[in-house]
Every structure is written in structure tokens, then in C-alpha cells.
Symmetry: C2
């Protein structure tokens, strides 16, 4: 850092250093103030301390660049010059506001200190100058309170309480009813509080006040709330905040004064209407503090017609200038309108879409701009029911927002009870320690799923997202008592059958029923998605296992099925006994007999799926999970047998199952006997699946349908695995084709989910006609993180800034991304037209979709409910690449 670096940017009349585009350096607020000033908008003058200072501060153990004080002093002199007031001078005092302002608006940071520059002398001078002692002391008592709260860390409540006591003693109701003598007394009380709490008097030196306020802004960058906010919103840590110092204008000098906030369009609905609130004779914080009820902005037309027109004209032109909804603050000092801030208005996802589409129609922005303006991830809010924003809720516990949506239902603790509830037409919430594949039927039957354990990519989370079902996972505040069929959170106990509500968007669990609002996918939303589809070149497919899912997928815009997990067909209630019998079989003959029973069932599923997706690509993944997932749990069996024995029950049957479960037991099932390893050791399973899928395809081709199955072999790490399985598949295809006497084309490809597959992708491409990156497993193995276990430390890692994102949500570009890129290059080097896609959870994550586009994949596949996100992200990726 050199001494001649510019750390302070002035704004005011003809002296504005900054520009509107300097958001990185000046923060959003600072850039806006500079921009407005340059555009001739009435803005009180001031200066911005750049974000460089904030970065310097944190990189240098909270010290500041040497030249900063000099530059600040110069800026104050200039400000005094322009305003013809003097900082700290009672004769004609300059008062200041101090505010934080990062590149993006960020709640949790220090907001505003007003009236800085007042002290015991200056307040008297101000009173004289303004001939208004009440105003001077009202300003001073506000300043002491704000400064103490924000800079000195003495809670505002202590001051408020004293003020309340005074009002009670005086028997008055409103702040404005307290006379100046009492306000003066109040400032003394306030100063005593400070002295008491601090051991030091309230700072009387106005420059000291300014320096302390500036430091407070810098420190507020690293409050827990600010850090959490950045983490949740993926805001980088190093953008830093600017500090804005601005000459005060006063909305509290009388009834020709006012202060207010507003939006150029309704931020909730997106409707084009002037929207906001104001108060007469008040300072900024009164509007938001809720002490006085502000008036709707329309009333300003009556109260101050000229000001109203000017405000409307200015804000409209600001909207035109920034081509976006403006969230503005203004103050009226003696009928003079001042704009204190303008920025892009935060809005709901719904409003975002509506406004973007409207602005395109108004020729304010292009379709491209509209597409780039919407945060793809935010679409998720529009695709599921949400809790009615009007509802007052009380949160029982908070878990991970594993799958969005909001549902109320009766608590059940077993999958069977969830099924019973559905039979009785009751909505249920399945509450489990964790879910396993045995619970699929229960998860399907329940309205929502709540688990105590597991992360964002635990079994419950992944399956729920796939089903588009609300899920709150890893809610470890809950403890389940399965014997009593209750769960407790602290002192609250919820019994089976009681109604709770899950909010999958926030992870909240609510102990009552709550009203929800359904999503609307037509209108502007549909128009917007059409625009996205016009732009994008990356295809989107859905992960769907059964015909029902395929219908949903098509509604959400799927251009094919990228992943059909065939084992999900095995978990259906009519099949699981056959599957279990197959697994328990001691010889090939018995096993084959079971497979023969499964074949027609699976064929029927494939028939339905292919038929539904006629003309689209459908990728069928051969059976993937380890066999023990289909059998009862080991510990449960052990316990049942042990307890059964003490009662002299006959436990022979269970012992037989346990024996097989023990044989199949694995220390690390994720790295165990699954995927193609099953198909290789039990070729008869691959064969059965191939017969089922090719027979279904041939039957449909005979019916005139256009079906080209893509057969996907999971967990390949070695080309010989692929050859082995392809050999079986090719033989079956040949035979089935002959049997049905039709022409059938098909592709055989592999999932790339084992790191070794990425490194040897050139060899795999000699055999595979397509690659589909299974980014869930690839992430697990590349990091050595079990997604079912990692939640325990990933959050800790994010807290400690060791990682700044969850790699199970967004593809890790530096690690996993490099492997995908490597595999893509190697694959294409051997087979230039190899089809490339991803089918992990990441297919519905905007950043990951963009990465896939940049790497050059052909498609992404994700849960049907995340397709709109993928479609928009794909369009944005294309636009950003230009």
C-alpha cells in the first residue's frame, strides 16, 4: 500500500471523484451517491472511504493506511467549503451521517449514524443558529443513542427505556411531545449512562467521533451476522465495505420536513407502482423503527405535492438510468428534497421475474439483460409451495433446508405409518433418525420428511429433492423416542399424530399447521423461461425413475431423461420381497428364478418410461446400490435376535437373513460392492435388466415409437469393467432385436464417478459412447468426504473459512471440476462425438451448470423440480461466455 493511493472519493456539486461503475471500490451506496450527484440529483455532499481501506484493515491486523487521515481531513475541508459549515464549530456546525456500504447490500452490518458532529457546545450553537432548541436536542439525544449503540456497544434499549420512563413521568405519548428542556435533561441522562458503562465520557471531540464511527463500520464487516449472511448468499469475504460520510440534512426541523423510503415498483409483487412510506418531521430511523406509523407514499402527494412530483420524477429517471427497480431514501428539509441513497431494490423471486419481463416489454432492458438479472437459484422459491408470508410462525427447531416446499402434516415415525396415513387421505410428515432405501415407500407416501441426521446430500435429501418433496434434514435439536412414538426439542414433546409444518426453504420446523401458498408457473414465468430456452445451447434432462416422474419432468421442460435409477423400481412394495429372495439365494438357479419374476415388472416400467419420453433420449443406469440396502438393517436384526433369544422365540429365519446380511456387511459401503461391481459378479442381474429394457424398447419401436435407449454402466474405474458389461448388453440387444425383428439403436456408456475413471477416460472412451459425470460420488471420492457423514464437519469448515461452499451443492471447480475437464478432454481425444453430461445433484445448481457449459458438456440432468433453474443457468452461461 503506498501513500499516494486514493482512499477517499468526494461527491458534491461539481466536485465528484467517483463514478457509477465503481461499485467494487466505493460500494453500492458510494457509487450510487457519486452517480446521482453527477446526474444532477439533489444529494447532500460527502465523501466515500473506499473498500481498499477495509481490505487493508483486515490484512494488516486492523491498522489503517497512513495517508487515510490526511485524505479524510482534506475531504472534510472541501465539504466545509461547499456547505459553508464547519465541522465541530458551534457557530455554523457541519453535521454528518456515517454509513457502511459494500458492493452488495448486506444486512447485519452497521447501518447509519446520524447527526455526528454534535457535542455539548455544538448542540447549543445549532439551537441558536436554527432558532430551534427542540430540534437541536432531539438531534443530540438521537446521536448519543445511535453512537453509543453502534460504536460503543451500549444497547439502545437502555436509552429507550430511560426515554420511556421520562415520557411516562411527563405523562406524554409521542417523542415530539417532550419539550426541549426535558430533551436536554435526557441528553444528560444519556451521557451519564455512557460514562457509567464506559468509564469514560461521551466523546466531545467531533473528529474523534468521526474516526470512531468509521472504525465501527469497518469492524461491523466481521460481525457474526454479516459473516453468516455472506456465507448464505455466497458473497466473497474480501470485497469489503466502504464508509460513506455525508453532510446531514434534517427531516426533523418542523412540519415542512420529512423523511422516507420507497421503491419504484412493488418489490413483493413486481407490479409497476410507486411504493414506499414517509414521516413528517422525523429522521430516517423513525420510519423503520416502527415507533411512529409511517404514511403510504401516495399521501405525500397531498402533504407536499411539489416534493412528491419531484421525487417521482427523480426516482423514475433513476430507474431509467439504472434500468432497474430503485430502492431509495429521501429527506425533505424545509421543503427541499434530498436523495440520500438509491440502489437496486431487493425483491421476491416472483417480483424479479415480473419486473424483468415488464422491463423487456417497456424496452427498458433487453431479453439478455433480463435473463442475466435473475438469480437462477432463486427460481426454486417459485417452484414449490411456500409458507404464507402473512403467517406468524414460531419456530420449534431448525435443520438443513434439504428440499424446498412447505407442508403441514401429522407426525409419523415409520414408513408404514406414512403409507397408512395416505390410505386414510391424511397428510403425514415422516420423522426419522435418518432414512434408508427401505423408507422409499414411506417417503413417497409422506408429504414431507424430517431427519435428525444427514447433510444436504444425505439419502433423505437426495431422494426428497428427486421427488420434489419437502425435506428438512440434519435437524439435530430433535431427539426421537421411537418406543413412545414421540420426539422432543428441548422441553417440547410432539406425539405421533400431532400436526407440524416443515419449511424446506429455511429448514424451519414449526409445531403447528401453517397456511401455505401455491406456486404459479404460467404468465411471466413461462415467458421468461421461453426466453431462456431460446438462448441456451446446453441441453437439460431430468433424473426420473418412473413414468410419473417423466410427466413432471416434461412439464418442467426436460429434453430427455439423464438418469433413471433402475433400483428404485426394485424398492416398490410388490418387488422388494422378490429382490430379497434373490439376494438370499444360495445358488444361481434360485437367483435366476427371482430375476425371471422381476424381468416383466421392470420391463413394464421401462415401457412406461420410454413411451412417456417418446422421441427423447432416456439414460438407464443399471443397478447401483449394494445388495445389503435391500435387506433389513444389521443392528436391528442383531437386536431382534438377541432379544428374541431371551424370550425363547424362534429366531431361525432372522438368523438366516442376518447371516447373509453379515456376509454382505461392509465397513464403507460407498466404496464397496456396488455399481458395475455387482453386474460383474452377478452378470445375470445385468442380463435381466438388459432384456427388460431392450424388450420394452423393441415393443415400442414396433408400435412406431422413436426409442434409442442409452444404457449406462455405473461406478466404472477400469475399461475392462466396461467391456465386460457392454459385452453382456450387446449380446442381449442382438438377441432381443432378433426376437422382435425390429431395428433398434442404442448407446452404451458409463458414469464417470470414480476418480480413476477421469484419469483413464481416454481408455474408457474407446468403449463408451457417452459419459455421464456422477458428480455426487465423484465429489465424495475426490474429497474423501462421505456425503452422509460430512455434514458434521463441512459446516465447521465453512464457519472456519476452510471452505467457502459445500462441494455437494456446487461443483468444486479447483478439484472435481479439473477432473471433469480432464476426462472431457481425454474422452474427446479418442471419440470426438462422445456425448457428455452430468447427472449428479449438481445438475440443478446454477454455478455447476455454468461450469458444465464452460467445460463443453452436452447436457445436464437434474431433479425435475430444478429444471427451470438449470434452463436459466444454461442460458446465462451462454450469455456470459460471449
Amino acid at each position: 500500500m503506498t501513500n499516494n493511493k486514493k482512499y477517499v472519493y468526494f461527491f458534491g456539486y461539481n466536485n465528484t471523484d467517483g463514478e457509477g461503475w465503481m461499485r467494487d471500490l466505493l460500494g453500492g451506496k458510494g457509487a450510487g451517491l457519486a452517480d446521482m450527484t453527477k446526474a444532477g440529483v439533489p444529494v447532500p455532499p460527502g465523501f466515500t472511504i473506499t473498500t481498499d481501506v477495509c481490505r487493508y484493515y483486515y490484512e494488516n491486523s486492523k491498522t489503517l493506511p497512513c495517508s487515510l487521515n490526511t485524505q479524510m481531513t482534506a475531504a472534510i475541508l472541501k465539504l466545509e467549503d461547499i456547505t459553508t459549515k464547519k465541522f465541530g464549530n458551534p457557530q455554523n456546525p457541519l453535521l454528518l451521517s456515517v454509513r457502511s456500504g459494500a458492493r452488495v447490500s448486506m444486512p447485519g452490518m452497521m447501518d447509519t449514524i446520524l447527526n455526528l458532529g454534535l457535542n455539548d457546545e455544538v448542540v447549543e450553537g445549532l439551537a441558536k443558529l436554527m432558532k430551534n432548541e427542540w430540534f437541536a436536542y432531539d438531534s443530540y439525544r438521537r446521536f448519543i443513542m445511535m453512537f453509543s449503540d453502534v460504536v460503543l456497544g451500549i444497547s439502545k434499549d437502555i436509552f429507550e427505556k430511560k426515554f420511556e420512563e421520562m415520557k411516562t413521568n411527563l405523562n406524554v405519548k409521542n417523542d415530539t411531545d417532550v419539550d426541549s428542556a426535558n430533551l436536554k435533561k435526557l441528553t444528560n441522562i444519556f451521557k451519564n449512562i455512557v460514562k457509567d458503562k464506559q468509564g469514560q465520557a461521551f466523546p466531545q471531540n467531533t473528529l474523534t467521533q468521526l474516526y470512531m464511527a468509521k472504525d465501527a463500520v469497518l469492524n461491523s464487516w466481521n460481525t457474526t451476522r454479516a459473516i453468516t449472511y455472506r456465507k448464505l448468499n455466497k458473497i466473497p469475504e474480501d470485497i469489503g465495505t466502504a464508509v460513506n460520510v455525508q453532510a446531514m440534512v434534517f427531516g426533523n426541523m418542523g412540519n415542512d420536513c420529512a423523511t422516507g423510503v420507497g421503491f419504484t415498483r412493488n418489490p413483493s409483487t413486481g407490479n409497476k407502482e410507486f411504493y414506499g412510506e414517509y414521516l413528517i418531521n422525523a429522521q430516517g430511523e423513525d420510519v423503520v423503527a416502527g415507533v411512529r406509523t409511517p404514511y403510504p407514499i401516495a399521501d405525500l402527494k397531498t402533504d407536499m405535492p411539489e416534493v412528491f412530483d419531484k421525487l417521482k420524477q427523480i426516482t423514475s429517471s433513476l430507474e431509467n438510468h439504472y434500468k432497474d427497480v430503485q430502492d431509495f431514501e429521501f429527506t425533505v428539509e424545509k421543503n427541499n428534497l434530498y436523495m440520500l441513497q438509491t440502489r437496486s431494490g431487493k425483491r421476491t423471486a416472483k417480483a424479479t421475474i415480473k419486473i424483468a419481463v415488464d422491463m423487456v416489454n417497456e424496452n427498458l432492458i433487453t431479453k439478455k439483460e433480463a435473463l442475466l438479472r435473475v438469480d437462477a437459484a432463486s427460481l426454486d422459491q417459485l417452484l414449490h409451495p411456500i409458507i404464507d408470508p402473512q403467517e406468524k410462525i414460531s419456530i420449534l427447531a431448525n435443520g438443513l433446508p434439504a428440499s424446498p416446499g412447505a407442508v403441514s402434516g401429522k407426525v409419523v415415525f415409520t414408513s408404514d405409518d406414512a403409507v397408512k396415513a395416505r390410505v386414510n387421505d391424511e397428510d403425514s410428515i415422516l420423522v426419522r433418525l435418518e432414512t434408508c432405501p427401505d423408507d422409499i415407500h414411506g417417503m413417497d407416501a409422506a408429504k414431507g420428511i424430517l431427519t435428525v441426521r444427514g447433510g444436504m446430500t444425505s439419502h433423505a435429501a437426495v431422494v426428497a429433492r428427486g421427488m420434489g418433496k419437502c425435506c428438512v434434514a440434519g435437524c439435530d435439536a430433535i431427539s426421537i423416542n421411537s418406543e413412545n412414538e414421540t420426539f422432543t426439542v428441548g422441553k417440547v414433546t410432539i406425539k405421533k399424530g400431532e400436526i407440524i409444518t416443515l419449511d424446506g426453504a429455511t429448514g424451519n420446523v414449526i409445531a403447528t399447521a401453517v397456511k401455505t401458498v401455491e406456486p404459479e408457473l404460467s404468465g411471466e414465468f413461462a415467458t421468461f423461461m421461453e426466453w431462456a430456452d431460446e438462448v441456451r445451447t446446453l441441453q437439460v434432462r431430468a433424473n426420473a425413475d418412473i413414468p410419473k416422474d417423466a410427466i413432471v419432468a416434461k412439464n418442467f421442460g426436460a429434453e430427455g431423461i439423464g438418469l433413471c435409477r433402475t433400483e428404485h423400481m426394485f424398492f416398490e412394495e410388490d418387488r422388494i420381497p422378490i429382490v430379497q429372495e434373490m439376494i438370499l439365494a444360495n445358488d444361481l438357479e434360485t437367483r435366476q428364478a427371482c430375476l425371471d419374476k422381476l424381468m416383466p415388472l421392470q420391463k413394464k416400467d421401462f415401457y412406461g418410461l420410454f413411451k412417456e419420453m417418446n422421441g427423447y433420449a432416456v439414460t438407464i443406469r443399471l443397478m447401483d446400490p449394494p445388495l445389503h440396502e435391500f435387506l433389513p438393517k444389521r443392528e436391528e436384526l442383531m437386536l431382534e435376535i438377541a432379544i428374541g433369544r431371551t424370550k425363547n422365540d424362534d429366531v431361525t429365519a432372522k438368523e438366516i437373513i442376518l447371516k447373509r446380511v453379515e456376509e454382505l456387511h461392509e465397513f464403507n459401503p460407498m466404496l464397496g460392492h456396488r455399481g458395475c461391481r455387482l453386474g460383474i459378479t452377478y452378470p445375470e442381474i445385468t442380463k435381466m435388466q438388459a432384456i427388460a429394457l431392450f424388450s420394452a424398447a423393441c415393443e415400442l419401436i414396433k408400435e412406431g415409437k422413436d426409442i434409442v435407449p442409452e444404457v449406462m454402466i455405473p461406478l466404472v474405474g477400469n475399461v475392462n469393467e466396461l467391456k465386460n458389461q457392454k459385452n453382456i448388453i450387446d449380446k442381449v440387444a442382438h438377441a432381443v432385436r432378433k426376437e422382435y425383428a425390429v431395428e433398434m439403436n442404442y448407446l452404451v456408456g458409463t458414469m464417470i464417478e470414480v476418480p480413476r475413471a477421469t484419469i483413464t477416460a481416454d481408455k474408457l472412451a474407446e468403449v463408451a459412447e457417452f459419459f455421464s459425470f456422477g458428480t455426487n460420488d465423484l465429489t465424495q471420492m475426490t474429497y474423501g468426504f462421505s456425503r452422509d457423514d460430512a455434514a458434521k464437519f463441512i459446516n465447521h469448515y465453512i464457519d472456519k473459512k476452510i471452505m467457502n461452499f459445500d462441494p455437494f451443492q456446487t461443483i468444486d471447480q479447483d478439484g472435481v471440476g479439473q477432473l471433469i475437464e480432464l476426462a472431457t478432454k481425454k474422452g474427446k481425444s479418442i471419440r470426438s462425438n462422445i456425448k457428455l453430461g452430468i447427472c449428479g445433484e449438481h445438475g440443478g445448481d446454477p454455478e455447476s451448470v455454468k461450469l458444465c457449459y464452460r467445460i463443453g458438456l452436452d447436457y445436464v440432468s437434474c431433479s425435475p423440480y430444478r429444471l427451470p433453474i438449470a434452463r436459466l443457468a444454461a442460458a446465462q452461461a451462454k450469455l456470459e461466455s460471449k
Copy 2:
């Protein structure tokens, strides 16, 4: 394959096409025959069908190149010309031998067919020509039997039985006592057997006989035994076998005839002595068949002095020519000596070393040649006791040869019983379903370990190898009944206290005590290892956790400790309760109190280790395993509580432990909360370990020792993990240095064992001063194979030729090797002097050691007992690279 390719190479007098160096094409036997012929050694003429034919045969669905027949016919004509005999012509018949011969000698393949070319007519012609009907029919009955056995698949036993019956009926004892009339009868009986079994007469066309014999050789390449042998000996599948067709000479034409086999040096001890056996009036197979007892070759000096001298002279010159011990076959036909084969003699590991050292001393070979000639892996045989080769053993079961050595001891089923046995000075064998870290004290106390489950790199195998202790793992034929304290294999039950023997070299379990032989590491072995050390540049270190291991390591030539697993110190009996208390602690304070108790204990260990390794590098790995490994097993607790409850026992204490065990429970512990993830969530553990190790180092430095600790952070996948831990370590180092007021240098580095670490190695190298590749975990994650579970399918994979080696034994060059290379390049690009090593199990595997040399690592670290292997492999790598 073109028609003009040469498939047949003739040898004989001045007509020899092949050369001694053509082993790949002609096989070892064929190249040897060509070479000997050219060198003027008396060899019956013949021709070799090349290995190309074998490869063609298997690549083209068992068809043969078109031109082969023509080339064979031409060769037979030439052979007829040279021998002045005619194939298939009774007047002066040419008889042939047919033998297989791959590049390397390979048991399990078809060995020899003698006397081919005999049929009902030719046998009569031969009898007339030789004026020896007995000889002719003795040859014919042998031929029918051999041909039927080898080519037609009719077991030799059936024929042998008939011959035995005849001899019984005739009341004679020796084959030679049966007269020619009866031999003639016998050939008819034999031919009837063939017709009976085959439905077809014994082939009378001699060309058909030859073609069938040739096909039989080709088919024998793929017998199960041959495949298994190649797999075990890592012989590539595609080298193929040659077929050698050679004019017969007869050792069975009378008492001036003989046949024998021999070695130029003793293949068992390596002593320089003429070694072998022979029979008078016999054909080759009689010597090995054991029907007649052959004479020691020394006796030939008396029986046939001239032949003996000539044989000695020829074989000596062959040894000089090939510069290696020769294993030869010869036949004496009417006092004429013919050499039928010469090849490098197979020998024991002990003999290999002795012969190599002797030959260097005899100036026959160079040290370099000596070093390259010894299979590094074979040294393992010399480093552990072996079963006395004289012992007759009966194998009860066979598991994986997880850790070499041979031990007998009393069966125990618990670690505590193993400890008790040691207290009573009894040798014990610990028999477990699988071992876990709880068993360390038992494994230490037992003489050998036998597990039912787990692969070559399971916990039992890894720990046993580290301890240099015999272990047979994954012996799934065994079923343990822990209640009765017995185990059974089939119908055999072994009770606690009964003595069994384990052979860790073969995986055999023997139900009795067996005599063993101790290894000898001085003499030629020591000389040989010195030569290896002179050559190699790659350093070797040992994996050692406690001072005792360090002593062993130094004896085996360690130049440092590459891996000290600090957690092994925690498993000591006096520490495990403190460790458990620490884990059960609910707050930092209690945890810290436990750590404070552990610190001095661990410091003492480090003190001992550093002191022992004074002047050498010692790499200390911070705690690695997940915490639940230190607590009782989950299922056991669950069962104990459930059963306790039925008895109304107080199970509160167990419930508390179970609660914590449940909290710590992981679905995939390998991918869970372990390695640096522990140190990050519990920084106090890292701090304690750093204090212990730096205090120990400083204390020793004060005592004048030369200690530079290398602190290794495990399981890093992200540079921020490394920064976090290095920060703690640096702070502690600073403080300890100050406290002891000494200069202490140290390095901080990381294990590279997560694939992401290899991809981001450039970033890691900004912080890490060394990398140590943890190839066990890196292999697990690169393949997605859990080493504890993969045994179930890896063997199947090797059987099905999907993999041709076990990646947990030898580094997978195409996958894991590429990642190591990538990480090495990336690491060096940032820090050119970064220290690089490996510390996985692979550090003691010759192929892997060579790969490490080629990639450019500085050292390998392995179990102390495998250091000689690593030292030799490192020397070989260097020599091979030149």
C-alpha cells in the same frame, strides 16, 4: 497376419533359423535349442512353432494362420532330410517329441509328448529296424498313454491301472519285466480304452497326431492351472507359448541308454555342485514320474564315464554361455549324449542370492547383473521364518498370505487371552472375525493372527506387516463360534488352546504344530544388500511407531522414519482409558484435562523414537483415525444394553457411551471425520501432539542430539486445512523453542492421500515443505475401493481378467500413478526442493518402488521387514533406468 510371416523356425546342424535372444518369439525352450544347436551342442534337430501362432490362435477364436500347415510340412521335410528318416513311414520312421515352451517356464502347461509318429504299422517297422520289439512296444504304449492323457483328456490313471493289473497277473514288479508280447497286448488294451472313452479309434495318421498335439499345447496355455500360475507370478497373458517339435532320441533302447535331468548348481542351497538324477534304459518321464527311483548324477561317472565328462563339460560351458545356473535335460542313446533342453534353473530365494554373489566372485557376472537377477519380492522369503521344507503338512484351510512368516501357537479368540498367553510364556495365534484397533495389544502379544474377513490391506494385514508378524487374513472357510470358543472348517473343529500353524507366505492354516526354519541375514545376503545400497539413490525409510520398531528398522537398513502413526501410542493399555475419557468429554475443559494427561506420555514416546533415530529424519503423522475407533463397538454396546435391560441390569453407563458412539457413528468412516478434519474440529489435539513432539525434540537437542522433526498432517484435500494446522504447529514450535531456549528446525508437510490433494498439489506446496503419498488411501479413493471390503470382488476381478493385479499391493500406474506424477510435477513447480516420499504399504513392493524412482520421489517408506526388498528394488530401478 500375412501369409509370408515366418511361423516355424528350424534348428539342427547348419540349418538353424533361430537365435538365443529370440525368447519372446520362440519361447525359452525354443530359443535355448536354437542357441545350443548353433553352439555345437549335440541337440536332436527339430523346429519351433512361434508364440505368434499362440497369440493368433486366441485372438482369432482358436483358428490358426493359413500358412502354418505349409511351413510345418516344409520343416518336417527338412527334418526328414537331416535325419534320413521318414515321418509315418514304417521302413525308417521319424519319431517326434512335442513340447510347450513359453518365454518363462510355466508349470501347469502341457509338458511333453514323446514318441509321436508311432502307429500300428510304424511300431512294427520300428521293431524290425531296431531289431528290438520290446523297445518298439514300450515306446508305443508310452505314446498312447501320454497322447491320450494330454491330447484326448483321458486320465493317465486309467492306463496305469491296466498296466498294474497286467503286472500283477504276470506277477512281475518292474515295467521292464513285462515282455514284448504282453506290451503289444497292452497297446491293444490301451487303444480299446481310447475307443471306448472317445467313440473313435486312436489316431493312426501321424500328421493328425502332430496337429492334435500342437493344438493341445496351444490349448494348455489357458488351463486354470496355467492361468493361476501366471496370475500369481504376474506373467502377462499375451506372451503365449511356442510349440517345440523335435526328433526323438531314445534313452530306452537298452543299457547303453539313459535319460536324466540336472542343475549346474544346487538350486536349493546355491552351492556350486553338479546336481541331478538319471535312469538307465528309460524315457524322460520315468525320471520325474517316481515309478523308478533315479540315481544321483554323480553315479553316472561310474556308469558312463565318458558321457559324464562330456555332460559336465557341455553344461559348464552352457552355464558360462548363459551366465546363469542351467537346468538341463539329456538323453543318452547308445552311448551318444543328446541335450534336450537347457534353461535358467529355478532356485530358492536363498540360492538366488548365494549364486548371484558367487558368480560375481567368479567374475562370471557383474554386480549390476547380480542385482538385476534377483526378484526383489522373493527376498521376503528370507526375512521371516518359513515352514521347514522337509515337513509334510496337511492344510486345514487357505486364506490370504497377508503377512509372511510361519508360526505355531495355541488358538485364542480374544486379545485379552493373547495377552494372558504371553504372560504364561505361551505362543498364541489370535483368531478373529476381523481385527480393529482395540486388538492392537492382543496382536502384539500373539505370535500370529488369523482373520476370517478382510483383504491384503485390512487392518489385521497392515498392522501385522507393520509388526513383522505372521498373518493369514480373509480365511473365509473358517467359521468362529465365540460362545463355545471354537472355530470350524468343514467338519473339523478347533478348540481354544489347541495348537495350529499359520504360514503367512502361502496363507495356509495347518491344524498341527509344524517345524520352522529361521532366516539368516548375514553372509551373502549382507554382501548382496551392500551392493544394492551402493547403487541406489532412492532413500528408504521405515514406518515405525515406537522406539522398539525403530531399532528393528535400523537393523533392516532404514535411513529414517517415514511414518510414525501417533495414534498407535494412544492404543497402549495405560492410555486408552484417558483417550476414551477425552472423547466422552462434553466440554473443552474436560477434554483438555485428558489431553494434559496424555501429553507427557506421548512426549516420552517421541523422545524414545527421536533418540533412537538420532541424525535421521523422523516423520510424525498427527492423529488420523476417527474417534469412534477408540470406543467400544456400536453393535456390541447395543446388544449389551438390550440384553442388560431384559435382565433389569443398570445399563446407564453403557447408554452414555452408546450415545456418544451413535453421535460419532459414520456410514463410511473411511470418508469421515478423521485425519486433519479431527485436528481442525479439535485444535487442542493437534496442539497437544505438537507440544509433545517439539518438547521431546528440544530436550534431545539440549542433550546434543541432531533432531529435525517432520510434522505430517494427514488427509489434507484443501490448502486451507493445511494452513489451519500449520498455524497451530508453528505457534507451538515457537513457544516450545522459547521455553527450552534451543535452536530447533522442523518441517511441516502433508500426506497426499485424497485425490483432490493431487490435483491441487501446487496450492498445497505453497504451504507444505514435504509431501508423503499415502498410497493406501489414495488407492482407495481413486478406485472407490474400500480396502476392508474390496477383497470380496477384487479376487473375482483378477479371475475374470478385469484387473491383472491388486492395486493395494502394487501401485496402479495408469490411475494412482498418474495422480502421484501429477502431484509431483505440481508440487515441484511451486517448491523445487520439496521433499517427496511415499508411506503406504506400497513402499515395500518392488514394482511400486520402481515407479516411485521413475516419478522422481526422494524416498519410500515401508514396514521395517520389507526394507531389504525396497533397497533392492531401488537399486534395480536405478540400474534399469540407465
